[in-house]
């Protein structure tokens, strides 16, 4: 008895038990179905999102009855008509679109040299430093970063206090359009650099040496060699930045102080201020359509990039 237990440790018994349990729950002849079983939880979890979209679609077809504050029973397209005709929504949409285009251009102008230096520098310490400087704000979260900008740019903020020391009257640096755009640029920089870096890595440095040995100065090398080759990366980064800044909530809310609302803020207000769920849902669905279209375009043109799940090599 004792000997046999030593020869067959209890861990093996446990494993055998589990093994037979697994075999009973999922017999070997279902082997083909195994990957689908493994995928099921993830599919179900993302299903919550799909369910959410369906609910948004349903709400968007109901209008708010202003006398009872209940949503109508019958379905209409009135919300969509309102969203497309009322000038308030056009103003907000125009502000967001123009903002995201400006943000994208400025972000790319700053992100390109950053990514270029990060990829080309021979010093691994500098490369690591640039990466850490990129990831730290990415992991800190938008609210804390916006809070930092409030401290720096506020009416009693550091910049104004410093200007006061040299006798310049305080300026209003926050709660205006440029402040929101500035906040968005700094929020988008890590995304843009991380999208650009792999594209720049793929460009052989020898091409640049070749161009300069043929007599091109660095500006011409950039213009005729590096930029055209980096175009997929630039377009990808640009589309990601456009989408993310178009749909951002926190930066316009905090640095815009309510006067510079983007689409996401208008949606939030429809739900929580005017309590017009139908209108809010309509705006959400339209934004989802535009946003998904843009991101879908990125994925179609470039694959999912670093987020590809096909298990590309590291």
């Amino acid at each position: 008895m004792r000997r046999s237990r030593a020869a067959y440790p209890w861990t093996w018994r446990v494993m055998d038990g589990l093994e037979s349990l697994a075999a009973r729950l999922w017999p070997a002849r279902f082997e083909k179905g195994l990957p689908y079983l493994m995928l099921a939880p993830a599919v179900l979890l993302v299903g919550i999102l799909v369910l959410g979209l369906v609910q948004i679609g349903d709400s968007s077809l109901r209008v708010l009855d202003t006398s009872t504050f209940l949503m109508s029973e019958d379905l209409t397209l009135a919300n969509y008509q309102r969203a497309l005709t009322e000038s308030f929504f056009a103003t907000v949409a125009g502000r967001s679109l123009l903002g995201s285009v400006i943000v994208t251009i400025v972000t790319l102008i700053f992100a390109f040299p950053y990514a270029y230096l990060m990829v080309r520098t021979p010093s691994s310490a500098l490369r690591k430093f640039l990466l850490v400087a990129l990831f730290l704000p990415f992991f800190i979260g938008q609210v804390v970063r916006a809070y930092g900008w409030l401290i720096i740019l506020g009416n009693q903020g550091m910049v104004n206090e410093a200007l006061g020391l040299v006798g310049v009257p305080p300026m209003r640096l926050l709660y205006n359009y440029p402040a929101v755009l500035f906040g968005l640029v700094q929020y988008m920089l890590p995304f843009a650099v991380l999208m650009l870096a792999p594209a720049l890595t793929a460009i052989p440095a020898e091409l640049e040496s070749a161009a300069s040995s043929l007599g091109a100065n660095w500006l011409r090398t950039f213009r005729h060699v590096v930029l055209p080759l980096a175009r997929p990366g630039l377009v990808g980064a640009g589309l990601v930045v456009v989408t993310l800044s178009l749909t951002d909530f926190a930066i316009p809310a905090i640095l815009g102080g309510g006067s510079q609302d983007f689409i996401a803020n208008a949606i939030y207000d429809q739900f929580f201020r005017t309590s017009d769920q139908g209108m809010g849902a309509t705006l959400s669905l339209m934004l989802v359509a535009v946003g998904s279209l843009l991101v879908g375009l990125v994925f179609m043109l470039f694959g999912a990039g670093t987020l590809a799940m096909t298990g590309g090599r590291k």
Partner: protein
């Protein structure tokens, strides 16, 4: 070589401007948390730790922080089995409709955050569970799930299928092969993914804002609600929690997979 000098001058100008933009808020928040004054001024009125003492007393901030930790923990615990199984399935097996499933699983990234947040708010609202913490955890898990799956697939594709065949040849049944061969191989990916999930859930703002009520605010929402009134340094002190956790996460990530992986081209 005046050409290369002007080139590095131009590049460094942009890089330094970008570095200032990226780091200024972090540095200022760090500095403000140590001020001795009552409001944040420049130049600072001396150093003190009194705001750290103040947040230790402030029960609303502390509770909000604990809630954020709970949300991040729920999110991570859910995402580990879900993301690991899905990641392994996509990397290891030949799945029919693999392309469609991948596109479907990328939905959390393609749908704008405000859309996902509103949708889940309606779903959880209909279920009558708004105001609890677990829906927030689940929601954070859903919107960041592609990160987890990506991390696992990346390490699973490094696993040679021969290893499992060899184990099977030695008589290991399926569950043992999974536990002793597959799982250890993808463990670095699982750890990287869970780290990302935890840190992103810890500072998730918009989805939290939509899903919490006054009794269940998480820390980012609490900070957001407070900075709209007067800016006091105790918020800076609590924000240092985020900065510290971000720094730790980066250090661990660098140790585990190396940050350079993000520079590689496909």
């Amino acid at each position: 070589m005046t050409g290369s000098r002007s080139k590095s001058v131009v590049i460094w100008t942009f890089v330094i401007a970008a570095l200032v933009m990226l780091s200024a808020p972090t540095i200022v928040v760090l500095g403000a948390s140590f001020t001795a004054g009552n409001i944040i001024t420049f130049p600072p009125e001396g150093l003190s730790l009194k705001w750290y003492g103040a947040i230790a007393q402030a029960s609303d901030l502390r509770q909000a922080f604990i809630r954020s930790l709970i949300v991040a923990t729920i999110c991570t615990i859910v995402s580990i089995p879900v993301g690991t199984l899905a990641g392994i399935a996509l990397a290891k097996y030949r799945v029919r409709f693999a392309r469609s499933i991948q596109i479907y699983l990328l939905l959390p990234f393609t749908i704008p955050l405000i859309g996902s947040g509103i949708g889940m708010m309606l779903v959880f609202g209909n279920m009558g569970v708004l105001g609890r913490l677990w829906p927030v955890g689940i929601a954070c898990c859903v919107i960041n799930l592609p990160f987890m799956i990506w991390a696992v697939t990346a390490s699973a594709s490094n696993l040679s299928p021969d290893l499992e065949l060899a184990a099977a040849n030695c008589g290991a049944p399926p569950l043992q092969r999974f536990l002793y061969i597959t799982l250890p191989a993808v463990l670095p990916g699982v750890i990287t993914g869970s780290l990302l999930m935890f840190i992103l859930a810890l500072n998730e703002f918009l989805v939290s804002l939509l899903l919490v009520d006054a009794r269940s605010v998480t820390l980012p929402v609490q900070i957001y609600n407070s900075i709209r009134s007067i800016i006091t340094p105790d918020l800076a002190a609590i924000s240092v929690v985020f900065i510290a956790s971000a720094a730790i996460a980066i250090a661990v990530l660098d140790r585990l997979v190396g940050l350079d992986i993000f520079l590689k081209s496909k």
